[in-house]
Each structure stands twice: as C-alpha cells, then as structure tokens.
C-alpha cells in the first residue's frame, strides 16, 4: 500500500509538471489555432538558457532562472509568434504544424551543436531528501514540485477568470470578431497567450530538468506527453489539460511499476487513440463551444 502511495504521489508530481506544458499547449491551440509541435523543445530550451546564464554570464542561480524565464518569453513567446506563426498561419494549419516540426528540429540541433550533446546536470530547486508521507517514502522535491505546479495552475486560473486582461484573453480566444468589436485588443491578447505558454514551459523546465538532466533530446518525450495530456484531458478548459497531465503521470508510473516497463510508453499512445476516436473532446471537454 505504501508503495502504491509512493508511486501515486511521484506520478502526480511528474504529471503536474507535464500539465504545465499541456496547459500552455492547449492555450496556444485555442487562442491562436497553433498546434505547436515544438512544445517539448520549448520545455527543453529554457533549462539551457539558465545554464548559459550561470556558465557564460556567471549569474547566481536565482538570477539565471529569471534570465532564463525572460529570454524564453522573448524567444519562444514573442519571436515565435512574430517570425513563425504570423507569417505561416494564413497558409493553413497543416503548414504551420510542419513549420513547428521544423522548429523543433532546429531547436534540438542548435542546442546539440552549440552547447553539448551530453546530458548536463541542472541545479535542483528543492532538496531530493525523502520524507515520510503516510508511510510512503516520497522525496521532498516531488511534494514541492506538485505544490508549485498546482499553485501555478491556480494562479493562472485566477488570472484568466478574475482579472480584466484574463477575461479579455478568454473573449479573444472564444470569439475574436466580437471581442474586437467590444474593444479588446485581440492581437495583444494572442501575444499574451504565447508569452504565457513560454512562461509555463520555462517553469516546467525548471522543475523537471533537475530530475532528467538537461539534454537536447528531452523535448521528444515531454512534447508527446504534453500533446497527449492536452487532448486526453480535453482542450476546452485548463482543468482538462491539468487532469490529462496528472492522469498520464500517474498511469505512466503505475504501468511501469506494476505492469510492464518496456511498453510503458504505449499506454499514453493507446489512450490517445481511444480518446480521439471515442471522445475527441477529451475527458473534461464539452463537445461544443470553447473556453480558455
């Protein structure tokens, strides 16, 4: 039982980080019809920004984190929207998907060539020491990761629902034409969405990289899981991507521990196929209407 609790909690912790990536992915899809196949790489790159901040510029860790966050928002948020999404989206969604695929390759190879092909250690935000939680040995890092991620989601939800800007963003996502008429600066709201996605991806990077080490190939696994989490959970609400992320994190851990290690990666895939074919709006999604 305690092992089960351990596996469950550790799965929730990882899952909550996946959820951050999934939420950002869902936001950008909803608000800007952009299916970002480079989302995984968006979670890989910020870690390297931090390493560059510390190694190249000699910043202390906390400053490097801020630097990484800011640079990510600039490059993976603003520049991504301006240089790639805006020119290509008019040519169709599929073309944009392909462009983001190319972007993924670009980011991956750039890190590999210009930084290193080797996995790099990344400083942990929280201690890895185990603590006793109802009989299960869970690392403090896992617990804190979970708390931090969930807090971020709560803050984001409050922002979107309770602030004027947040509600404007929702309006712009749901019905851009009407929002425009009502005085919402739709273009800027869309920009904010991209910035938020970059921020979420960065935060996910800071939380997960200590565990997996910074490597150029990290994006592949995380990206796929982010997509699957967003779709399985359901796009229509942030809650969907959150539920999706947690679910995948837990199921992945449970599968690996109790069923099969070799085919653990198959579970999210099978889940994806089933959900898409049976209930495309996802577990939490509603079949009509969209909300951020």
């Amino acid at each position: 039982m305690s092992q089960f609790l351990q596996v469950l909690l550790s799965g929730l912790a990882t899952g909550s980080i996946y959820a951050l990536a999934a939420i950002g992915f869902a936001l950008v899809w909803q608000a800007a019809q952009t299916v970002n196949f480079a989302q995984g790489e968006f979670v890989m790159v910020p870690a390297f920004f931090v390493l560059i901040g510390m190694g190249f510029f000699g910043m202390p860790f906390w400053l490097a984190l801020a630097f990484g966050l800011a640079l990510s928002m600039l490059v993976l948020g603003y520049a991504f929207k301006k240089l790639i999404v805006e020119p290509i989206l008019p040519h169709g969604g599929i073309t944009l998907i392909i462009a983001t695929m190319a972007l993924a390759i670009l980011l991956k190879e750039t890190v590999k060539e210009f930084y290193s092909a080797e996995a790099q250690p990344f400083p942990a935000l929280f201690s890895n020491a185990p603590m006793n939680f109802f009989g299960a040995a869970v690392s403090i890092q896992d617990i804190l990761n979970l708390i931090v991620s969930l807090s971020i989601v709560v803050v984001l939800t409050l922002f979107l629902n309770r602030t004027r800007t947040g509600r404007s963003m929702q309006a712009a996502a749901q019905n851009p034409a009407v929002a425009e008429i009502l005085g919402v600066n739709v273009k800027r709201m869309v920009l904010y969405t991209f910035l938020i996605n970059a921020a979420l991806a960065s935060l996910a990077a800071f939380l997960i990289t200590p565990v997996y080490l910074a490597k150029f190939s990290n994006g592949e696994t995380i990206g796929l899981i982010a997509f699957i989490a967003a779709i399985v959970g359901g796009f229509n609400q942030i809650r969907g991507a959150l539920v999706g992320g947690l679910l995948i994190g837990v199921l992945d851990n449970l599968t690996a521990t109790y069923v099969t290690a070799q085919y653990r990666a198959a579970l999210p895939l099978v889940l994806l196929i089933i959900i898409i074919l049976v209930r495309p709006q996802g577990i939490m999604g509603t079949s009509e209407g969209r909300s951020v």
């Binding site: 969604g93 998907i97 392909i98 670009l106 190879e109 060539e113 085919y263 099978v270 994806l272």
Partner: protein, 327 residues
Amino acid sequence: MMAWKWRWLLVALLLAAAIAAPLGQKSYIVYVLTSWLVFAIAAMGLNLTLGYAGQISLAQASFMAIGAYITALLTLAGWHWLIATPLALLACFVVGLLLGYPALRVKGHFLAFVTLAFNTLVFLVLRNEEWLTGGSYGLSGMPRPDLGLFTTMRPLPFYYFTLAITVVAALAMWGIVRSPWGRAFRALRENPIRAESLGLDTRRITLLAFAIGSAYGGLAGALVTSLVQFIEPASFGVGHSLRILLMVVVGGAGSFFGPFLGSGVVILLPEVLRFTEGYYLIIYAVLVIVMLVYAPEGLIGIGARLKAKFFSRSQVRADMSQGATLK
C-alpha cells in the same frame, strides 16, 4: 500544366540523367543516389495520401518499417526478394486500410496525432519483441536479390534495379493519379461534402488513400532492407516520418514530381552541406521554415510561380471572385 510533348521530353531527360548519374562514381555516391530513389518512393506514397487526398499522415516511416522487416525476415529465411516484397506490400496495404479508419472519424491535427501515435506504437513493438525483430540490435545480413541474369550485390547493379522499380512505381502512380480515382482523391481533398453529394463514396476513397500510400511506404522499406542490409527500429521512428513529410512538402504536395524533388533535397542536401558538419540539420530546418513562409507550395510551387511570370495566362474574373452577398 506543361504541354504534353515538353513533359515527355523532360521525363526522358530526367531518366537519362538518372541512368548516367552513378557511372564512374564512388560506391558511396551510388549509395546516396539509391537512397534518393528509395525515399522518393516513400514520398510518392505519402504524396498520394497527403498531397492528392488531403489526409495527413505521420506514419509513413512505420510502413517502411513493416515492409522492411517482413522482407528482411522472409529473405533471411531464404525467400527471394521478388516474392517476399509483394507479401510485404500486401501487409502494408491491409494495415494502411486499418489506419484509414481513424481518418474517417477525425481530420487535420487530430489525425496527425493518431498517426503519430501509431508510428510510435509500431516502433515500440519492433524494439520490444526481440524474438521476432531482433529488438534494438535489429536484423542484419539480408541478401540482395539475385536476378538470374545478374546479381545486385554490387552498388551499381543494385542502383539500376532500384531505378527500374522506381520507374514502375512511378508509372503506377501516374496511372492512379490520372484516372478517375485520382480525380476522386483530389475531390476528397478539395470539398469532401460536395464529393459525397455527387455519389463519391468518400469513406472508401479515404481508406484507399491510406492503403495505397502505405503500400508505397512498404515498397520503400523492402528496398531499404536490401540497400543497407541492416535494419533497426530507430531508423523508422517518428522523426523519420517527419522527414518524409518534409520531403513531400518541400517538393510540393499534390504535384507529381514533387516527391522526387523533395526527396532529393532532403537526401542530398546533407551530403552537400557535409562540410558544415553537424550544422546541416540546423541550416536545413531554417531553410524549411523560410520556405514555408515564402513558398508553402514547395519547390514545384516556386517553379510554377516563375513559369507564370514568364508565360502568364489571363486571369478570369478575379475581381468578381465574391459577388455581393445577402448574408
């Protein structure tokens, strides 16, 4: 469209160039050229599914895998390549039909994800079922076909063997695309609802688009088996499906010669950029992005635009493209 005789002249020239190209070259160059042909076949198949029929698939590499592994296992057991390959093609056709069913339910991004998941699942099975596939160690030592009159053990004969198969495959594709089936595929891409209302069974045509495209992927895989004489799961992952997709898009989706162009660019560019060491993928990715911004119809599209500049035709009532609507 070019006038017929120019087209045939161009084809003849290209064929002559293809026959002459490997003569006197080092075996590595011949190997690269053979790769080009093999991937052109895979790209042709995906071009049918995506370019002509408008169905996105990120699973073409997995069909290369199925074709490659079936051919490998059979040839290692002593069967002749020319007998093993049709069986592999059949298997790919059937599996392709199955993959088409999700396409009846979802389109666009969702379909992309389903095919991506399928590709990854195939990869997992290939990697894990060691007893059958050799797992991560792969399969090696597959013999090259002996064609009675000559053997294809050496690079040059194998190149011409591959060229012959490519020509046959291209002719078959030409036949399909020109026929009412080709028109039906394009109708599926352009306006499936209208097509349905004209008696076109869009479900059947969608499944066929996947099945035929997959069979071409399988053919490419069967050739890869003999070309490299070593296959492993990592050669058929999602990244490779993306490469084939890029070949189709860069060449020009929905055009007949696009796959050859695109495959050429993707296969040859790294060789040309070899001097840049590891940077070629970066350069390549940047080129793709730039191309998608300025010329999303691919290289064929650029060609068409250049041609339009020099041989312009009259624009028909473009000013009246949307009449006064009451809505």
